[in-house]
């Protein structure tokens, strides 16, 4: 991987006591779509603002295409940004908003015209060029912001929760749109969100933030299936986390039983671990179903069931420990409160997280 945008152990403290960003290292490849995912206050926006140049790192450096950005003011960095609240210039039309970066960068007239036309076409806003931002819907305003951030061919586009203010349908539509734009122009994008579904569906890689630090950087599936910390396991996706102890290559799951994960890290031998089992990794075993060798089965008592139509989520308890099971079935009726259900775990579907 060639390092295109290189963030080296940046720290940002606003008050000199707490580090809002606490030693973040990120190295991003050209054309990559990377998502910064994390709970509120974990330092995602602050990290973006430092890349854009609106906040100065307390320590650490940021390099873009081999150039140290740390001392360069924001208006001299070639970095585009899309803000959560759009931040469109209210006194300018769509066309003026989009041409603003070109006018400030002294492009010549015909170049401005062609670029604005091309970018408005890309975001499907050609018909709205003469309107003012307040005359547009939320989704349209966000597309103007996108066009304004892209029109001058920045080296990287930063997006700070760009879809946070939109309703669910529009959100999904815009997710597809942003991915299409990313594909079509191949620009490097750093995308901030605290919505883990959004991160899963859009990203090449996800950086999971927690308290100013990155807990894990990986491709979405890996973050989901093999979280390196308990926090990541809980924050990304739905999860069951059991206490376990590794003994002789097998893990003894407290209150449930022993199972032998095929790819358990030998370094975990003899140690207490968190055992991650996603709700959909658990299989409901009907009375005359066969249980494969090595599978661990146990009984849960149903507390509650949510029927999603295409699947059900079952909340139960095994030896006083909460267990969630997601299953693609339609006979939710039989899992009434208090019912006993046998479930099985395939050893391949167990992931051990070091404590």
């Amino acid at each position: 991987m060639t390092d295109y945008l290189e963030i080296k152990s940046i720290v940002k403290s606003f008050d000199g006591k707490i580090n809002a960003v606490d030693g973040v290292d990120l190295s991003i490849a050209k054309g990559e779509f990377i998502t910064l995912l994390g709970p509120s206050g974990s330092g995602k926006t602050t990290t973006l603002l430092m890349v854009a140049g609106f906040e100065h790192p307390t320590s650490g450096t940021i390099e873009l295409t081999g150039r140290d950005l740390t001392k360069i003011p924001p208006y001299k960095r070639n970095v585009g940004m899309v803000f959560q609240n759009y931040a469109l210039f209210p006194h300018m039309t769509v066309e003026k908003n989009v041409s603003f970066p070109l006018r400030m960068r002294k492009f010549n007239r015909s170049e401005i015209e062609t670029r604005v036309r091309r970018i408005l076409d890309l975001v499907a806003l050609t018909d709205h060029a003469a309107k003012y931002p307040r005359q547009l819907s939320g989704g349209q305003q966000q597309r103007v912001a996108l066009a304004r951030g892209l029109v001058f061919d920045p080296d990287v586009l930063l997006l700070d929760e760009p879809l946070g203010a939109l309703d669910k349908n529009l959100r999904e539509q815009m997710q597809v749109e942003i991915k299409r734009i990313h594909r079509e122009i191949g620009i490097t994008m750093v995308y901030v969100t605290h919505d883990q579904t959004e991160a899963m569906t859009m990203s090449d890689r996800i950086a999971v933030f927690n308290k100013g630090k990155i807990e894990q950087i990986d491709v979405p599936l890996k973050v989901y299936r093999e979280p390196t910390t308990r926090f990541v396991g809980e924050f990304v996706g739905d999860s069951n986390l059991f206490d376990g102890l590794v003994k002789g290559g097998a893990v003894d799951v407290t209150g449930i039983g022993a199972i032998r994960p095929p790819r358990a890290d030998p370094k975990l031998e003899g140690r207490a671990v968190d055992v991650l089992v996603r709700p959909e990794w658990l299989r409901i075993v009907a009375p005359n179903d066969r249980v494969a060798d090595g599978e661990l089965t146990f009984e849960i008592v149903v507390d509650d069931t949510i029927n999603y139509g295409d699947s059900i989520l079952l909340f139960g308890k095994a030896q006083q420990r909460s267990v969630r099971v997601r299953a693609i079935t339609s006979h939710a009726g039989i899992f009434a409160r208090g019912a006993k259900v046998r479930v099985a775990i395939d050893p391949a579907n167990v992931f051990l997280i070091a404590r």
Partner: protein, 257 residues
């Protein structure tokens, strides 16, 4: 519903009658405040426009009010910016300090300015009155600007900067146009406050920088010259014109885009 309208009319008449009485009086043929006037002519207007002790203070008032508006804005825009945007030592104190002229009784300010401005020999000069009026206008202008700035989205500035605009261009292309309504209101306030100010002017304006309110006050003390009714009528007209202009501008803003 009709009762409400009638009530509104009564209140309007009650408020305006004393003001409107100056209109017929400005056309009086009498040399006193006799009401109703014994006859009508435009001689008082001719007198106003030919008497330098009347038209010079008028010019002074406009000059001083304009100077006050400009100086107040030049101080208040950066000050409001600092207080709203930045966290610095003494910020709360600065904020409070800028409001103090509002708390001091005007007569005390007047004496203070008189004493203070006499050292650099600014009593009786335009500059002196402008300085004093700026002090008086600053607190409210400051509050107006601070309120406008608080409602101003910081990301707009960031968006301008990521677009390649430096600090100055960001101010002129984005900050200023977006804040313009607040700036206009603050400037207008400073202008009117100065134009209307009497007490401090009485103390420090002297002869050369005498303002219209000062001249009117002196007129009413020394003689019964109906020219004062002319001045009042014209000021009244000016206010109505400004009000209409403002309404017109606002309508244009709504329909223009």
């Amino acid at each position: 519903m009709p009762i409400v309208i009638i009530f509104a009319l009564i209140v309007t008449v009650f408020l305006f009658a004393p003001v409107l009485i100056v209109v017929p009086m400005s056309f009086t043929t009498s040399q006193s405040y006799a009401f109703p006037p014994p006859g009508y002519w435009t001689g008082q207007y001719a007198k106003y426009f030919s008497d330098p002790t009347w038209y010079l203070p008028t010019i002074n008032s406009f000059t001083i009010a304009l100077g006050t508006a400009i100086l107040t804005l030049a101080l208040v825009i950066p000050a409001a910016y600092a207080v709203v945007r930045y966290r610095f030592k003494g910020r709360a104190f600065a904020n409070m300090f800028l409001i103090t002229p509002l708390l001091v009784p005007t007569i005390i300010s007047a004496i203070a300015y008189y004493k203070y401005l006499s050292y650099p020999k600014l009593v009786g000069t335009h500059i002196g009155v402008i300085l004093a009026h700026t002090c008086l206008a600053t607190p409210v202008a400051m509050l107006i600007m601070a309120a406008a700035l608080k409602g101003y989205d910081r990301n707009l500035e960031r968006a301008a900067m990521m677009s390649g605009a430096g600090v100055l261009r960001t101010f002129f292309y984005v900050t200023f146009p977006v804040l313009r309504p607040g700036i206009v209101v603050a400037g207008l306030f400073a202008f009117l406050n100065s134009f209307d100010e009497t007490v401090v002017s009485l103390f420090i304006a002297g002869r050369a920088a005498s303002t219209l309110p000062k001249r009117m006050f002196e007129s009413i003390q020394l003689d019964t010259d109906p020219v004062i009714a002319v001045v009042s009528t014209m000021l009244f007209l000016l206010v109505i014109c400004m009000f209409l202009l403002q309404a017109l501008l606002r309508r244009r803003q709504f329909h223009g885009s």
